[in-house]
C-alpha cells in the first residue's frame, strides 16, 4: 500500500467524512475515539502485521504518524 492509497483506507477505517491528509491532526477529528483507535489497531495488524497498543496510538498526533507506524 502506498501513502496515497493509505489515506482513503484510513478514512474508511475511521468512518469519517473528513478528507484526510498526512498533516491532519488526529485531535481535530471528531471521530478519533476509542472505536476508531481499536479499528486502527486491527487495520495496522491485519494489513501491515504491525501490533500497537492503545497507549501507542494515543501518543500519535497526525495521520502521517499512523502511516509511519504502518511503515509507510
Amino acid at each position: 500500500m502506498t501513502k496515497e492509497e493509505f489515506l482513503p483506507e484510513m478514512q474508511d477505517v475511521l468512518q469519517t467524512e473528513t478528507e484526510l491528509t498526512m498533516d491532519t491532526a488526529l485531535a481535530d477529528l471528531d471521530e478519533w475515539d476509542s472505536l476508531a483507535m481499536m479499528a486502527t489497531m486491527a487495520f495496522l495488524d491485519q494489513h501491515f502485521g504491525v501490533k500497537v497498543k492503545i497507549a501507542d496510538l494515543k501518543a500519535l498526533t497526525t495521520v502521517g504518524d499512523v502511516a509511519a507506524k504502518a511503515g509507510l
Partner: protein, 384 residues
Amino acid sequence: MIKKFSSVKISGMSLIVPEREISIYDELQYYGNSEKKAERAHKMAGFWKRRVADFDTTPTDLGVQAAENLIRSMNLDKSKIEAMLLVHQIPDFAGPCTSYSVHHRIGLSKDCYVTDIIQGCVGWCFGLLTAFQMVASGTFKSVLVINADTPAHKLSPDDRINAPLFGDAGLATLVEFDSSADETTFNLDTFSEGYEAIIGVGRGVRCDFDIRDPEDVRQLTEKFETKNGRIACLAEGYMDGPAVFEFSTQKAPANIKELMAFLGTTIDDYDQLSLHQANKQIIQTVGTNAGFPLEKIPFDCFENFGNNTMCSIPSTILLSLKEKILGDSARCLCCGFGNGLVVCSIDLHLEHMKCADINVYKKPSDHKTAAEWRQYWREKFINT
C-alpha cells in the same frame, strides 16, 4: 490445555432472552445524541439492538425458564436428570450455592447432583467442559447445564462505555452420553495475570462495606468520572477496554490456531467460527487473525441481543444455524474469551438436536420484586 472427549454430545439447547428490546435509536445519549454517530457505531462495532431484563429479574429467573422450556420441549423426565450445573456470576443470595434454589424451583430429584460454577464470558465453555468430563467418565448419563447472566439490567445509564454493550440471557444445554457421537475437543488457556482487567469490584467481600460504618457504603456508591468519560462507582464493574481488546485479539486467535493444528483441521472443515460476541469489531478482528473469512464469522447475537456474556456463543449458533443443527449437522469452532482472563475454544459437532429454541422470557405470576423479597425476608427474620 487440550482435552478430547468421545461418546458425549449436546442433544438440546434452549435460550431465553428478555422481552424488552432496546435499539441504538432508543439510547442516542450514548452516541452523542446523533443518529449519524449511532449508525457509525453500528457500522464499526455492530451496536444495533439488545435485550435487557427488568430490574427485578435475576439470572436464575431466566435460567430456570430456559431449563423448563428445554425439559418441556425435549419431553425429559425431570426425576431422571442426574446432574445440573448452574454457571453464573452473581448469586441470588450470598450462600448457599444458588443451584440449590434453582434445583428446588425446577423440581429436580433428591438424587440430582447440583453445584455452581462461577464464570463470566467463557461460562458456556466451562459448563460444557465440566459436563463432558462427568459424562465421559461414565458416572453420569446426562448433565443439564444452565448458563445465566444479567450484566445489562442494572448498569447505570451514566456508564456510557459499558451500558450500550450488554444484554441479558439464560440458556439450558443438555449434555448426554452417545456412543456414536463425534469427538469434541477443548483448548483452554488461563491468563490469570490479567484478572483485574474485567472485575466486579464492589460485589464481593474484598471491598465490601462494614455494616458498622455508613462511610463504607458512601465510598462504594459515590460516583466519579473516569478519564475516558465514564461516570462510575466502585459498586459497578470495572473493565480495562484497551487491555481486553489486546488480550482478545491476540490470545483468542492463537488458541484457535493451536486447536486446529492439534486436530489437523482447516477452515473448510467448519460451518462457522462461533465467537464470544464481545462486539463486532473484536469478533471480526479475532476471526480474521485466526485466518477465517468474514462470511464464516457471524455477529448475529451482538447485533440482535447485545453481548450476553456466557450465552453469546450458543445464541450465535441458534440464530444462524438453527435449521442445520436440528435437521442435519454442523461443525462449529467455538471460542469464548473474557474475564479471568481466559480463552477456551471447542471443536464442536452439533447433529440432529432435539431442541434449538429461542424464547422470550415470560414473567411468572408469582414473581416478586426486589422490594417484595426484602419484605419477605424481613418478616422471616422477625418471625424466627
